[in-house]
């Protein structure tokens, strides 16, 4: 069996886990909760195996088979270097898989620490969606050998730490969003408007991109070409003015309706029996763990690597700049909370915006902006 079999198994298990967690929310039977956790853990184990297998497959490709290295120590060092450099986190597909792995791990830790399974219904869909996104877009899953710039010992530390931080930020985003939904009462409240509009826009983005995909997948050939050349061409930017107008109109009406009936969502969430203060605490703790890891692994290691490869530790290319923007948003969060005493809804809004910056750093820069970092692109 190869890595893709195990990846398939884990994707399936996460989707099953999602359904079981939702059933658990509905019936609140401890047995169902136990099944949900077991399915998630099994999926996690399958995914771990898949990553290890892919690592070995990757290692075989990049292996130095020239036989020019002699001496036991030198050979061992070469093998070690090969293993370190064969970390399967080098393209969009692999990094998404690794992101899901980190997210599930972080979730499992939270589940056991706080003895609350309710978030499972939120986190497993994110995991399932990310993995389904890979299959839907027909992303290139081939193992690609490393281009020279990526052959660095910093690769592993940089990528692993960045994604650990991203998943803590993702967790903070989930809890902050639930917090906002639970804590807002009136429709005229700024924080209610904020979450209603953000979620509305998110859903519209997903739907319109889905429509682009359905309409143009044949012409665009690659997902990257689709996003670069056909983004919103099926709706907002349609060649026919009428279609474009209707799209804008429908989007606006949808957001208004979402805003009007957003409280239904609140009613669902309030059955989760989670204490908003616990949510706030998890948000803060996730960011407090993620921020130093992101600073060191994402920014500092990234800068050192760029310095080794190109002699420029900071070149203000879009990827670097966006990670700095993300860093400042979370620095804002920490200072506002710890020193200005911002609490509650205000600070939750910042946590949500922080993750928007993370997603843009990770996907938006590669797909929408150009830069030195071409390796994350979908091929």
């Amino acid at each position: 069996m190869d890595s893709s079999t195990f990846f398939g198994i884990s994707t399936m298990l996460y989707i099953i886990a999602m359904m079981v967690y939702i059933t658990y929310l509905a019936f609140r039977k401890p047995q169902i909760g136990l099944v949900a956790s077991s399915v998630t853990i099994t999926g996690f184990i399958a995914q771990t195996l898949a990553i290890i297998l892919r690592w070995t497959e990757f290692y075989e490709i990049g292996r130095d088979t020239s036989g020019t290295i002699t001496g036991f120590v030198a050979q061992m060092l070469a093998i070690l270097k090969g293993i370190l450099r064969a970390a399967p986190f080098t393209n969009l597909y692999e990094s998404l898989v690794f992101f899901v792995w980190c997210l599930i791990l972080a979730y499992l830790v939270i589940e056991f620490r706080y003895k609350n399974k309710s978030f499972g219904a939120f986190v497993t869909p994110v995991a399932g969606l990310a993995l389904a996104f890979i299959d839907l877009t027909g992303m290139n899953k081939e193992i690609q050998p490393l281009v020279p710039a990526l052959q660095s010992n910093w690769l592993l530390a940089h990528v692993v730490m960045s994604f650990i931080a991203y998943s803590t930020f993702a967790l903070a985003f989930c809890t902050a969003l639930i917090y906002l939904i639970m804590r807002t009462e009136k429709r005229t409240e700024p924080s209610y408007i904020f979450w209603a509009i953000s979620m509305g826009v998110l859903i519209i983005l997903l739907v319109t991109m889905g429509l682009d995909y359905l309409t143009f997948r044949v012409v665009a050939q690659t997902p990257e070409g689709l996003i670069k050349n056909y983004l919103f061409k099926a709706t907002f930017l349609h060649t026919s003015g009428a279609v474009s107008f209707v799209s804008w109109f429908v989007a606006l009406v949808f957001i208004l309706l979402f805003w009007r009936y957003g409280r239904l969502l609140k009613r669902v969430i309030s059955t989760f029996s989670v204490d908003p203060e616990t949510l706030d605490e998890i948000t803060y703790k996730s960011i407090a763990i993620g921020f130093p890891i992101f600073t060191l692994g994402g920014l500092i290691f990234g800068a050192i690597w760029a310095d080794q490869a190109w002699g420029v530790y900071w070149s203000w290319d879009p990827k670097e700049t966006w990670s700095l923007i993300t860093w400042f948003v979370y620095a804002f969060y920490l200072h506002a909370r710890l020193l200005r005493g911002w609490r509650g809804k205000k600070i939750a809004v910042v946590a949500v915006m922080g993750f928007v910056a993370v997603v843009f750093t990770y996907l938006g820069v590669n797909l929408l902006l150009s830069g030195l970092h071409s390796y994350g692109a979908m091929e």
Binding site: P148, P292, A309, V312
Partner: protein, 481 residues
Amino acid sequence: MKRSKNTTFIDKIWDSFASVNLAVVIFAVIALTSIIGTIIEQNVEPAKNMKLLSRLFGESSAPVLFDVFERLGFMDMYHSWWFMAILLLFATNIVVCSIDRIPKIMKLVKDPLKPLSGDHFKGFGIQKEILLKGKPEKTKETVINTIKKRTGFNLTEVREEDGFQLYSQRGNHTRLGVYITHFSILLILSGSIAGIIFGFRGFLPLQEGKASSMIETGRDKVIPLGFMIRCDDFNVDFYGNSDMPKDYMSWLTVIKDGKEVVKKGIRVNDPLTYEGITFYQSSFGIVPDSGGEGVFKFRLTSKEGKTEEVNLKFGESFTIPGTELTGKIEDFSPAITFDEMAGKAYTYAEQMNNPAVLIHFSERGNSKYSGWILKRYPNTWKLPDGHTVEFIDLWGIQYTGLQVRKDPGVWVVYLGCMTMAAGLFIAFFMSHRRIWVKLVEVKGNTLIVIGATANKNRQAFERRIDRIAHSLSKAPEGGKG
């Protein structure tokens, strides 16, 4: 930090710089303005951004907007005066904030912990009460030992009228973590400024076999290196038969005062540094119209095993050792591929992805056969007669593109990065923990009151104190309560 009311103008400025409000505003401003520079491409030819602007805002308004943006420095935003000013404001804010707060923090760090008066024992975040058998004089040792074993605190004791008070603190220095982090940002900023002032950055295309003693750094400025750098060879390795590059390598030689002092093969991620100047592998290509300078290197082996290496120019001939078979280089392609349908060879790339030579063989003036010999495909080296012509290299027509940099500030930046890592670790993962324990005699037994604080991760410390309370109540003297 609030000062007295009748403040001077300078105090007001100081206070506004010391405020966290300014800090969070600066964070937001840097984050928001930075976005502009990721949308407008930086330092590119004007036409590119003109196209972008007309796509975003329409043809008619693009030229006006372009002019406005150019005046605002958006085309090279991160080096514009106003962005520099924001960064300077940021640095000033960090300095003033730290100076403003450090005296208070130093007091917390330096001052020894004091015992608490009775009513202060109320209102601790972490609070526990346990009743032990025996008088405080007897139970004191158990308490001290249990706490030492569980948390490593060395308790100081004072005698009080109705018993004892024990107290201690750990991690008081961790309060400085935040300031270490702030200081590291200043280090990084000053290191980068030092690099801009005392360093340079340039690009040097160096043809195989050529040497240079100076580099160009933008805008036609030429900087002497103080030595010569020569490219002895450049090579690209590919994965298997694909065109996916595996390795770019340049073999460089440093020549100082006519002597070869350093030889090193550099690759991406592995540069050469000499006298503070670093050479990075950054690009490569074929020098235009350099065909005549190219040297073809072949290793010729006859059927009988006689071997000879030859270096030839385009159009020259060679003879297979021990035979009368001669070959003449008639054509060359940097990247050859064959069109199966037309049965023709053609060049598919401008780089040397798959170099090949067309050699025409003849024996004593009689034409025998001709064919393409590909450097990357050993099966093309074999001749019909059993001889081999190994295509080792084509040397002298490629150049290696070297990124050249001198940056004396980079070590300050690295130091700043390390300081930041340490500072963040201290600031986020370590805490200042204080504990006070009161032992009060109650009818021949001891009432133990524990009060404790931690400036971070209180829950973890609370669990630890819980365990202490638990193990004290399990002690031989315990169980009363």
